[in-house]
Symmetry: C2
Subunit: 354 residues, 2 copies
């Protein structure tokens, strides 16, 4: 606390990201990173960068990257916005669309940054409980609102909402912006991007951090009607003209242009997820159906917190949330087959010990 | 305009950065970039980066970079905050310290992003006119306020405020935060960083974009009392956990550790500035005394806008501000000696033509 802070700062409850320990080497299955390196084209593109030109400001509108993203989605650049990771893109969405008189709606169990953004921008919100099976049921979202946001698939629960349900939301709430946060969509879901051509109130947010293996470079983007993109650009240009540095722009273009690598790695991760799910079930875990690069699982006989700590002591990081309804679950990122095997063997040992 | 925007978005008047034209090659003296490449250690550090590790999130607290900055300033890491360019750092400062009941004070002629931030965060502000010689006179800043900010040296005027004057402001306004935006301090000014040990209400913001030749990588930082740094971190962690990507962190460390290169390049730029000032005066320009890597000049017989356009047509970009009090001036970045000679020769031709 400090008399020098703006009043709002006293009330902020900042987001806590997953551990990024620097002390020792872990099998790191806690922050939903991709277990595979980025496309070889990224290394090539970075190697070819003229470091001397880093003395110059980057392209403030990230024109090349926006064009590459638009090409990938078979849309036009004026429907694309980019930012410094999807967290920044989401922050601008909250500011640009959700500071309204009616409350924002999102699930009670979801990405825990959403209520933090609400705190930052003074946005009133109302959480809608997930059903008992942790699914999002859109018919629970009929109340008047100043916006709706959820990840699809949801995090940390990994469950998917069908496109038809998203379309219903857009239809019911034509005056609200519906933001679908598709950080994990490439691991088995169907993207709502094509629906943005039909609904001017639908915005889809994606990231290079997961399926493009570029968490280290902080690239996020949003796709939607040009009016929504303009709203985001007005906020962005009132905050930071140059959110993406020159190397991130170059690497992002290389990553999204390598379609074959991207599709192959996603396929492998989906296969690993299915194998991991099966192995965990073999150990007695209940595992939610996942359309993401992580699984959400609980063991009926072993407290999640105990498992989390035992795994950590044993060199394997997974994510444990000390929160109502989910404090009996672990969120486990899908690693390489070898990493998944290590996890399963260590869990087997821990469970046998108990 | 869109019914989907938050009300505040309609009122935003976004910042317009200097041109970064992609169409042709210019002698680029319009955005105060360093004419010299970053330290050779930056290229070396980037070459040694393991691109495969970009699949992982970067260190969210930028611990290595913060330590390197603290070492350079002979201070401690808890007094250092880093962000995605000093524009982001400044944005967080406005949010963290200036959302108060009393108006923020800044000069009428200054970095034009300041009123934009005020628009974004709904901050009331009052501008204090520069004196007729474009100097900041701190005795004009005695009114009760919710904060004070100015660049030192000021932009686009290039004039410096003495440390004793800054100390007076800190003393007079103990309940306000005084932010000194030292983007250009390394080109001849004396930094207020040592004063931050004495005044808990003084925050100094600097950048790697100018004197460290890394505008392309977006690294800014702030130095001050740990309470102020904590306020910034609370805002940052409510906005984006990972503002600096992995490559920017590595490059930033390499840049700030190469003291000899940094000092040498600053010295050369200062010498070029003095030569440029002398040459411009030889052409009849009035040039303000500059402590920055740019000069602010007017020609009594030639409209600044005409000169700007003629130079642009001739392949030389400088900055022209279509604003009261300064629309007769040009802001000219100090380039290499060759670039400065090109500018001066083209100006000579243009002036002779007129």
């Amino acid at each position: 606390m400090s008399r020098h802070w703006s009043p709002i700062v006293h009330k902020l409850a900042p987001y806590t990201p997953g551990e990024q320990p620097q002390d020792r080497s872990y099998v790191k299955l806690n922050t939903n990173e991709n277990p595979y390196p980025p496309s070889p084209r990224v290394a090539e593109a970075l190697k070819n960068c003229d470091v001397d030109r880093l003395r110059l400001y980057p392209d403030p509108v990230s024109g090349g990257l926006i064009k590459a993203i638009a090409t990938y989605f078979e849309t036009t650049p004026e429907r694309v916005f980019v930012g410094n990771g999807s967290d920044e893109v989401l922050a601008h969405c909250f500011n640009a669309f959700f500071c309204r008189d009616l409350p924002l709606l999102f699930p009670d169990i979801t990405y825990s940054f959403y209520p933090v953004y609400c705190g930052l921008y003074g946005i009133e919100f109302r959480t809608i409980p997930l059903r008992d099976d942790f699914s999002i049921e859109v018919s629970d979202y009929t109340v008047a609102n100043g916006g709706i946001i959820f990840p699809n698939p949801n995090a940390p629960t990994s469950r998917l909402v069908a496109l038809a349900a998203i379309e219903q939301l857009c239809h019911w709430h034509a005056d609200s912006v519906i933001v679908v946060d598709e950080a994990y969509i490439d691991f088995g879901g169907e993207s709502a991007v094509p629906l943005t051509e039909k609904y001017d109130n639908l915005l889809v947010v994606q990231t290079f951090s997961k399926s493009r293996s570029l968490a280290g470079l902080r690239i996020g983007y949003a796709i939607g009607h040009p009016n929504l993109i303009e709203g985001l650009n007005r906020v962005k240009d009132s905050f930071n003209s140059y959110p993406l540095d020159a190397l991130a722009q170059v690497a992002g273009i290389a990553a999204i242009e390598d379609l074959a690598y991207f599709e192959d790695r996603c396929r492998v991760i989906i296969e690993s997820r299915e194998a991991l799910t099966s192995d965990l079930k073999g150990l007695g875990f209940e595992v939610l159906p996942s359309a993401a690069n992580f699984v959400f699982a609980r063991h009926p006989d072993a407290p999640a917190k105990t498992l989390y700590q035992a795994l950590k002591d044993d060199g394997v990081l997974v994510r444990y949330f000390n929160k109502p309804r989910i404090d009996d679950h672990l969120r486990i990122t899908v690693g390489t087959p070898a990493e998944c095997r290590t996890l399963v063997e260590k869990l087997r040992t821990i469970l046998n010990r108990a």
